[in-house]
Symmetry: C2
Subunit: 313 residues, 2 copies
């Protein structure tokens, strides 16, 4: 048994969790969150606060590792290009900051990859599954994390699963990235907020009542999400695709529409074998995959070659 | 050192190669090809002929394994849904047929996955690279094979890399699969043949001279190929994408257009890190990746868990 801390740095909240890990299970002992302040200094201060709050809850229990999940590109223990945190091209060394707080080993990973690992452990404890999945995170942006045959896939440059800026309509609107018609313009919380003032549930209801703007935005959202799921399945043949992010996990009407769109692809032998809609799962809204995944990754590492899970589900 | 036979069953030719494998290299000892006859009986007869021709060239050298690559869905030693071979939903047991020819171990794998393994060995012997790649096969159809961190990725249902029937234009022409606007309608040899009578080289030349049909077909081909490469890179972050198939490997003007399309995606930090165009390689036209890959796979196996390469490059 060991106790590990995971800290998930998001654009709005920094979530911290203390996780007790045995040889076959994990259990959240404590959870705390603090508001994110943008910019390097704000992020570092938030990291310290979240760590200290959840550490204090543990009392004198020793901590065996600390994992940090952060949006952006992670190299070594540093992050760059975390636009939602106000961190640009200059690396912010989160590992060094965490080492000032603890003598336990520290691991820093991209937040969606950490959440994929958390989702893998969640499915694994629930059903013996979870060894082969994509976590599709529908947040401010759109990105996926992959666990393939039980191993977290970082990719050759740490960019595996970064499908949000695939162009799906070259005549579409401009994207902040400089291209046009990127997938995440249609299929993300941020993309939705630019086109519709209200929740995804209100969008679905308005579309159902005949609002033509709502219908257009809804159709683009459903088609975009379906395309994201299909790209992940057809490129990698992952056994499961776990959707995360309040836009989908708190909107049953959107879930139903997405499943219908995935099913509605003809009846060829190939489509029957592919059975994309059968692979879809919804991450429970209250499961903190990001912080739990970061905590559990601190146990197994995430560099190629050292990801040996010592706590099989 | 061992000698292995690989047989690549294609829609037009069945290629057989005898490969000598040492602990660090491989060398093609003999190669033969016979014309494919469609249908189960024709395919089995061709398999036997190709095997016997290349076996005869070897004289009394013992063979340590036989690998067979075949388009379609491979389960156990059987293939289904090999449309180009006239094989439908009823399994054709190629392993059993091969066991009548040899007492050596037999392995059957999807042809593009076998070719990906061959491409991995080709790059590995050339440069120490090749451990992490997608082979994008631009043939009658469009499909990819993945080697991730040195391991062939079959996927949960053996369908990894089957990106040809991703819909990229829902208002596009009907596809034989029953959907509309599938990627392979635009970006494959078969798709090209339906729209243009002539080679890809002639297409590029006619487009350059101002033929508007040729320009449309060329632009769709280039955009489709670029999208296929990007989907593979952004979903999996493979270090290299190896393009195979005469349509691209024998058409320098098309290669130049594809690289330009991959480069022409703005100058964001993300695009610079992604550097998709830097990952592109062209399989040499005379390298028999399919039969060599099948031969080499017979050494390492391709089921999850048993793919342990005993001949590191």
């Amino acid at each position: 048994m060991s106790v590990r801390l995971g800290i998930d740095i998001g654009g709005t909240w920094i979530d911290a969790a203390a996780v007790e890990v045995t040889s076959s299970t994990h259990r959240v002992l404590a959870q705390r969150a603090v508001r994110t302040t943008s910019g390097p200094e704000g992020v570092l201060a938030g990291l310290r606060s979240a760590y200290e709050l959840v550490r204090a809850e543990l009392g004198d229990v020793p901590v065996d590792g600390v994992g940090i999940g952060v949006p952006g590109i992670v190299t070594g223990g540093s992050v760059t290009h975390a636009v939602n945190l106000g961190i640009g091209g200059r690396p912010l060394d989160l590992a060094a900051a965490a080492r000032e707080l603890t003598s336990a080993p520290v691991l820093v990973e991209n937040d969606v990859k950490a959440a994929a690992w958390g989702a893998s452990r969640w499915l694994g404890s629930a059903s013996g599954a979870g060894q082969d999945l994509a976590l599709l995170n529908v947040g401010t942006g759109l990105a996926a994390g992959l666990v393939l045959d039980g191993v977290l896939r970082r990719g050759s440059r740490g960019l595996a699963g970064e499908i949000g800026h695939l162009v799906i309509d070259r005549t579409g609107p401009p994207c902040p990235c400089g291209k046009r018609g990127c997938l995440e313009l249609y299929a993300s919380g941020g993309g939705l907020a630019r086109r519709w003032t209200g929740s995804a549930g209100e969008l679905m209801a308005a579309a159902e009542l005949g609002d033509t703007l709502a219908q257009t935005v809804r159709d683009d959202l459903v088609v975009g999400l379906a395309q994201a799921v299909r790209i992940l399945v057809q490129a990698t043949d992952v056994a499961e695709v776990v959707l995360a992010g309040g836009v989908v996990t708190s909107t049953p009407a959107l879930q139903a529409a997405l499943l219908a769109a995935l099913r509605d692809h003809g009846d060829s032998g190939f489509e029957r074998m592919l059975a994309v809609h059968e692979r879809v799962r919804w991450l429970p809204e209250d499961y903190p995959a990001g912080s739990v995944g970061a905590a559990l990754l601190s146990q197994v590492g995430s560099a190629p070659g050292d990801l040996v899970d010592t706590a099989p589900a």
